[in-house]
Subunit: 363 residues, 2 copies
């Protein structure tokens, strides 16, 4: 007689069969108890539950997923966990995934424009994730990673911080609107030479902020001259250098919009160095509303983005795509969501300094 295949001395993990044996019922009955399905007599249910507890049974989700053909997992592919916005967004993705009952795979790529995306996507497909949140900002030509033929191979996918386009589901902050708020606010404060320290213009988000500034100036009858613009790289150092360069190009600048809080911080340092008072000589505004920005000196006017919500909404959209019974149905259709940010006014842009305004600004 042939020898039976016995893989290893029976593993530590208790299975349905063990529970069934212990409680003297069939495997299927135990399965029913575990999943609360079907009618089961109170007596057996009780007996089974006792066995489950005494043996320390835990269902094997791998096996369950194999037969049910869904893994109840999502994946987030992200860049920039060391930055405030991206890490908050990932946190939002995690929270919403958790609330909807998914486990979440985390995949970080070291650089938004030079990745090993193919192998990541291969792995995710092999793990049979039910959906993917693509949290890599659109930089340069990295959008082209998304090949049409991939989209068909992959599970439902939602893209963050990327230029909306038909056929893709996108969730992003309305950067253009945020930048417009900033520029309008500076104009309303009486500033007429409003300089700009942009993020790297290969970034879609940086270009959007640039456009918001530009459009608002034009609408106000002001000239968005090239001498008013310096391109930074999001870092505080580039903000420091950016302000110096800006003042060299255009000495009569009376306001500066730095396109994130880090660059604003650098610009603030440069202003101190150069003896320019903020806001008296130069008003300064940032973007992001990092927790620290309220404690810069002076406290920084900035734009609050609902970065956690970006992640949460992404998962909600993904969930509806996954749920949709037929790919033709409404909730399966690609959707675009733009979240409107909010201007947070603090002392760095206000001429009329209110002594109590700092305390007020702190939430």
């Amino acid at each position: 007689m042939r020898k039976l295949y016995l893989p290893k001395p029976h593993s530590l993990h208790v299975t349905l069969r063990d529970v069934a044996k212990q409680s003297g019922v069939s495997i299927k009955t135990v399965s029913r108890v575990v999943n609360n399905q079907g009618e089961i007599s109170e007596a057996t249910r009780h007996r089974v539950q006792k066995a489950i507890k005494s043996l320390g049974y835990r269902p094997n989700i791998l096996a369950r997923s194999l037969v049910s053909r869904k893994s109840n997992t999502l994946a987030v592919v992200a860049w920039g966990l060391d930055y405030y916005g991206p890490s908050r967004t990932v946190a939002g993705v995690e929270q919403q995934s958790n609330e909807l009952g998914y486990s979440l795979f985390l995949n970080l790529i070291p650089n938004p424009d030079d990745p090993n995306v193919a192998s990541i996507l291969d792995t995710l497909a092999a793990r049979r994730v039910d959906g993917i949140v693509w949290a890599v900002p659109e930089v340069g030509r990295n959008r082209e990673w998304i090949r049409p033929d991939w989209l068909e191979q992959l599970p439902p996918t939602v893209f963050l911080s990327m230029r909306p386009s038909p056929g893709l589901s996108v969730v992003a902050v309305d950067n253009r609107a945020g930048a417009a708020m900033v520029t309008q606010h500076l104009f309303d404060q009486g500033r007429r030479k409003i300089g700009l320290i942009t993020g790297p213009l290969v970034w879609w988000e940086a270009r959007e902020r640039y456009e918001g500034w530009r459009e608002t100036l034009l609408r106000a009858g002001l000239n968005p001259a090239p001498s008013l613009v310096v391109e930074g790289d999001w870092s505080a150092m580039s903000g420091d250098q950016g302000l110096r360069k800006l003042l060299a190009q255009q000495p009569d600048v009376d306001a500066v919009f730095a396109c994130n809080d880090q660059m604003a911080l650098g610009a603030l340092g440069a202003a101190h160095h150069l003896g320019r008072r903020v806001p008296q000589d130069v008003a300064l505004v940032g973007f992001d509303d990092t927790p620290e920005s309220a404690y810069f000196w002076p406290p920084l006017t900035t734009v609050h983005q609902h970065v956690v919500d970006v992640g949460r909404v992404a998962v909600q959209v993904l969930h509806s795509h996954i749920q949709s019974p037929q790919p033709g149905k409404d909730n399966a259709k690609p959707s675009t969501t733009l979240l409107t940010p909010e201007l947070v006014v603090r002392q760095s842009s206000l001429l009329t300094l209110q002594p109590s305004s700092q305390a007020v600004a702190v939430q």
Copy 2:
């Protein structure tokens, strides 16, 4: 005859059998090609690979894990993704996991001392993760979540930022050494009234920094008087209030060690408000070396922790635990790793201001 059970119209996913049929070989042969095992003739290998490509076959890791009894997944349970240190550490965990071939589950808990840990651990066990990185700092009594009976039920686990103890594998920064460096540095600069703004003392890490300060003062023959200490909550606001309180308690303070950079930032703001010059009147030092700290005004002396390495080392330790063939072997033994931080000296603690020091400080 009994009807066969056919679950659904065959799914989109291509299986080994499909490839086998297409290429006219057995399932096992295809499996061998996929996994590069055994000897296979060049001809069949080629034929099979062609079929794999044309059909778009991807191995189902779920099925593979089911039989191999290992999922090739790790999980990180973390708190504080919105803070610099924790988020960097998670990034380190992800990088090292990826390099070792694991996929990583991300689980965030909203609060380090009031969690729903049991359900998270249940899920991870049910998903048969091969190991767990417990990246929740030790706060209050949250260490007691780790019940001895759980440790046996769970896969190998490594704990971060937690008081080392026999039986647990721990990776942490040597906070006490870091705080000692700071205090010694201030002493060496001639400061003799060195105040302390601590983190919440329910945190182990905060207590360690406190001890480092205290021990160093004692060793220097100075008195760590209670009036020199204020307890903060890591936030910039508490640093602001902390400095005010400290100066009220002990007006002749000539140096302040704020136990993280955020509180240092708040203290900096308060100093400006109160007209105290930094460092001339009060030297100020932080802890963390956040990227912004080099751009505070003045640039902040602080302590650089190798937070990414904490995550990487954790996964390395975990990997060795997982690999270990027998639980008695060396690499299976619990280990403690303390990473030594480094003092980063900038202008906020230096009396002799070097004009070029800021540029030097920027890396």
